[in-house]
Subunit: 473 residues, 2 copies
């Protein structure tokens, strides 16, 4: 165990050193989230599909409970129950376009994680960083439980619990709990807890911040303690179900799943669930008493309970739907929490966009009209007045607009178009549009996946460290 | 699948080419034993213990259902449900003594299997070949189900079903079904089915051959068909139990196992089994309604059913005991089959040696007296007259001795001493003599083992081929 403990402390020191300008100690936030004993008990697993470029390299690391797909390498890091999905990386010969400049990749892109500590964190998509298109780098960084690192290279940065960094390069930054940033690049900056911030240079800027008392009810972070609040209580309730799916090598396949859909065998699928064509359910998703219509998807750490998704609905990484009814083409962003009432589900009209990190936790029936953008905290129908806007209205905005405490500046048209393009890209890459022959996506490519299981040294000084492994085609 | 089929045919062609002098086609014996469909479904697994030198390298191979421990590499081969146990290999700096000459190894020994096809085969121990002490090589060779390759480097050789090659280097040899050889080295030779042959140059020579009609009842081999007969019928009956242990990652540990014993979690342990201190039960062993006294062991593919082992009893690889009662210090050799009656178990007296490949399948109560050597086929008490000899009597033999059809020449004392040394070595290396501090063996070293699971490409042209994997400490 000694080596594992040293590794953990070494990473914390490296992160702190990178954040020395901000006088920040990551240790008290990270240590309570990393149960040393479990780190040497859980296996890691990686998928071999025949459809994804294959390259895994692991050295001097602990990978307890983590999942890998596509090309990735991990050195000198602790990855606990994290998902490293290299299935949208660029390939050698692909073009990278940035502000009219085209670059052609001279080698396959790879996710490289070194000297970092990720806890229950998702790493997905491809590096958006034009400076290093061949490498999606996470270095000298740490992430607390349920953070998302989406297309975002990180150096010397710290992400709080449930934080999301989306298409944003971070150098020496601290991102607070449940904050969401999609701003291109940040240097030595600090993003406050519950801050939602989207910025595209020369195009638009969107800002909203959760009131501190609201945030505290859902996610509370104190040094020396694991994260607490309703999100954690909700997640802890399903631990037993996940233990079962991780303990068995070959699970009986769920019946009545269309051939064009794919359900990860590391997802929990409870009774009375209906799965439509082209549906994707990722590992660590949880579905119960719900129907997922054609082309819908449930990403990592999603929960869909007592809900109905009409079709082509996206529940992004970490989104949770309980008693919800989504019409077609609804987007629910990262880590959103939509909780209706048993006899009055939250109804979301077609084409609406629930912004990442939105909490809709209702005390009375709430209906979101078609083609609206919703953000922040909503518990009554009235709350929608200052937490939503029709997309058509937003698209006409060209200058500063405020709705409630939300501030929007720049081109609403570009903001709406960017979102809609992205949703379309997500549906396409997840295989929602597969016609039986063309437009194959993750739902189809992820079928026939074989999972390899790797274990750490079980005893001795190396206990918990994984042997050096190199895997190539 | 195309690549897997090509690999299989390529190996068969290479084996045939090496055996061209004997005008032999290995294909019709091998193909019926290799279910192509299963080759792409089963996982392979390797053990990481912290107590064994670690180095695995796999390339261009199929490893379906096979197990690996210690240092090994596999290239261009098909290993189906085989056990590659590199836990008795020599380490760098170890001495190798051969006829008074001492050699010191300048690197760790490694098991290297290339261009070969092994089906349900055991590879164990260390190379006994003084020419290449650093490499235990199996090359251009094939083995049918339940063959044992024990300390025996093979080049261009073919082993029939249930054949055992023990401490013998083979070059271009064919070893028939259920034949056992322990003769040092053979070139371009053919060993007939059911031939039991031990030879130590300048010391002794032991020969016995099973009558063809007896052999046919237990093991029948015809080109174009899988092996048949009572051995296969017996083994096929337990397939369901083994499927279960291979399907679950974490099995609940068997209770009441002493801390100094180890039961592989890939063994089948059925009810009413009692395990004593220092006991070793290897993967793919099957124990039911039996007691294994202190220091006893059950190796790979052993079956111990309705039996009692008093203590320090060895059941070597593939030995089967059904309704048997072993006193202390009994040795049951490779692939032996001891089958008593429900109300009259075969009783074996203390210190007796059941030769490898002995069949004791009784029609009436049979008791083997203490300190006897038993071989061949025994079904009545009277059969013992010409299939056994007191060890003390054999030890006085200095020239030619025949008992029944068994022929012994040379020094009986050396033969008995060699066997007893070896049994002692087996007990010692299995940990039978562990005193809580010293004399640690496999039973103690194999505890706290973590199993890594590797899978082949599940679809496409590479279907069934395993990615190239390199694992180091």
């Amino acid at each position: 165990m000694q080596k594992l403990e040293k590794l953990l402390e070494r990473v914390i020191r490296r992160v702190n050193l990178n954040l020395r300008g901000q006088d920040f100690d990551a240790g008290p936030f990270l240590r309570p989230c990393v149960p040393l004993r479990k780190l040497s008990q859980f296996y890691a697993f990686y998928g071999v599909t025949g459809r994804h470029p294959l390259r895994f390299h692991f050295s001097a690391s602990n990978l307890a409970g983590s999942y890998f797909l596509g090309k990735c390498r991990v050195d000198g890091s602790v990855l606990y129950k994290s998902d490293i999905r290299g299935d949208e990386l660029r390939a050698k010969g692909d073009d990278f376009h940035f502000r009219g400049v085209r670059m052609t990749l001279d080698q396959d892109e790879i996710i490289s994680i070194s000297d970092s500590l990720l806890v229950k964190t998702l790493v997905h998509n491809r590096s958006h960083d034009p400076e290093n298109p061949e490498i999606f780098l996470v270095k000298n960084s740490a992430a607390c439980p349920f953070a998302n690192i989406h297309g975002s290279p990180l150096e010397g940065s710290f992400l709080g619990a449930f934080a999301t960094v989306d298409l944003t390069t971070l150098h020496g930054c601290i991102v607070g709990a449940f904050a969401y940033v999609q701003v291109g690049e940040l240097w030595h900056d600090r993003v406050e807890p519950g801050q939602i911030w989207l910025n595209q240079e020369g195009a638009f800027d969107f800002r909203y911040r959760f009131p501190a008392e609201t945030l505290a009810e859902y996610i509370r972070v104190e040094p020396g303690r694991p994260p607490a609040g309703r999100f954690m209580e909700f997640l802890n309730a399903s631990k037993g179900d996940f233990r079962r799916v991780f303990d068995v090598v070959h699970l009986a396949p769920v019946r009545f799943v269309p051939k064009t859909a794919s359900l990860s065998r590391y997802a929990v699928i409870k009774p009375k669930t209906r799965i439509g064509a082209n549906v994707l359910v990722a590992q660590r998703a949880f579905i119960e008493n719900s129907s997922l219509g054609k082309g819908s998807n449930a990403q990592e750490n999603c929960f869909i309970i007592n809900s109905h998704l009409e079709g082509n609905d996206v529940t992004a990484h970490g989104a949770k739907l309980i008693h919800a009814r989504l019409a077609e083409n609804v987007f629910v962003g990262f880590n959103s929490f939509i909780h209706g009432l048993p006899d009055a589900p939250v109804v979301v009209g077609p084409g609406s966009i629930i912004m990442p990190h939105t909490i809709i936790d209702v005390k009375e029936p709430v209906t979101i009209p078609p083609k609206h953008l919703v953000w922040g905290f909503v518990s009554t129908q009235k709350d929608l007045l200052d937490h939503s806007v029709p997309l058509a209205t937003l698209a006409t905005s060209t200058r500063m607009t405020t709705v409630g405490t939300m501030e929007f500046a720049g081109s609403g048209a570009q903001f709406v178009a960017a979102f809609q393009n992205r949703i379309d890209h997500i549906l396409e890459s997840n295989g929602a549009y597969f016609d039986g022959r063309k437009k194959r996506g993750h739902a189809q490519k992820g079928q026939n996946i074989a999972y390899n299981i790797i274990q750490p040294y079980p005893i001795g000084a190396q206990k918990g460290i994984y042997p050096t492994i190199d895997i190539q085609p």
